[in-house]
């Protein structure tokens, strides 16, 4: 765990850049993490996925799988990969300020 300054705020992140404390997150932190990962600008569709992931994590304690993202976020699997080409589940989780998902599917 290290402390990093993202969007002018001091936040704690793990070795892969996932926020240790989801409470340190806000829209500007999300936009900065996204930009750093090559997603600029964050479109409404990106936000839809990111907010769905964050809400699911905060209410259930675990991040959704790609399958449930594709079914329930309102963004189909094909588009998920277009929005987050380097791996939708992990990148969206990082932008959403939640821990790295550990599912195999």
């Amino acid at each position: 765990m290290t402390t990093q300054t993202i969007a002018g705020r001091d936040v704690t992140v793990d070795e892969e850049g996932f926020l240790a404390d989801p409470a340190q997150w806000d829209d500007e932190v999300a936009t900065a993490i996204a930009r750093d990962a090559g997603i600029d600008p964050m479109t409404d569709r990106h936000w839809q996925v990111v907010r769905y992931m964050r809400d699911t994590y905060l209410s259930t304690g675990s991040a959704p799988t790609i399958r449930s993202l594709g079914k329930a976020s309102g963004v189909p699997v094909k588009e998920l990969y277009q929005l987050f080409p380097k791996g939708p589940a992990k990148l969206a989780a990082r932008i959403a300020g939640i821990p790295k998902p550990r599912g195999c599917i």
Binding site: T65, I66, R67, S68, G70, P76, V77, K78, Y81, P85, K86, G87, P88, A89, K90, G103, C104, I105
Partner: protein, 156 residues
């Protein structure tokens, strides 16, 4: 510094059982989830995974499968294979694993390439129309190696 990250995998699915097909699908889907390029190549009985007439009735073998720890005489009982398969399918559904047809559609949507082996298609006297729409092409082993260039080949 660690080793070079894997950037591309070509996964061969050669078996037509439940436990013969799923691992290759999980590895292909897992690769795409990590942003790794992935192609799937279905050969021999692995073609059942993409055969419209068979992809919904793939079974766990209950005979000749020591991993199940079921006596051979019991495993050979009529309907045993179906019972064991249902048990696995139920457990996997609980863990949010898709069925084989849905999984393959998902992998296709993730941008992975899906290919059927020409020799096997000929051997089983199948036509392109017998295979699911998600199949990108029916290709020879030579074409498979061309597509696999620059990546890792995984045989399952």
């Amino acid at each position: 510094m660690g080793a070079e990250p894997i950037e591309k995998v070509s996964i061969i699915v050669s078996k037509g059982s439940f436990d013969g097909i799923y691992p290759g699908l999980i590895m292909a889907n897992g690769a795409r989830m990590e942003g790794i390029e992935a192609d799937l190549f279905f050969t021999f009985f692995g073609l059942d995974a993409v055969n419209k007439a068979r992809n919904e009735s793939v079974k766990v073998a209950s005979v000749g499968n020591p991993g199940l720890h079921v006596a051979t005489w019991l495993g050979g009982f009529p309907g045993m294979s179906a019972v064991v398969t249902r048990k696995f399918a139920k457990r996997m559904d609980d863990l949010d694993f898709p069925s084989i047809p849905e999984f393959i559609e998902m992998i296709h949507d993730s941008g992975a390439g899906l290919y059927a082996c020409k020799a096997s298609v000929d051997l089983f006297e199948l036509e392109r129309d017998d295979l699911i729409d998600e199949i990108d092409d029916v290709i020879t082993v030579g074409e498979f190696y061309e597509k696999a260039a620059g990546g890792q080949i995984i045989f399952t």
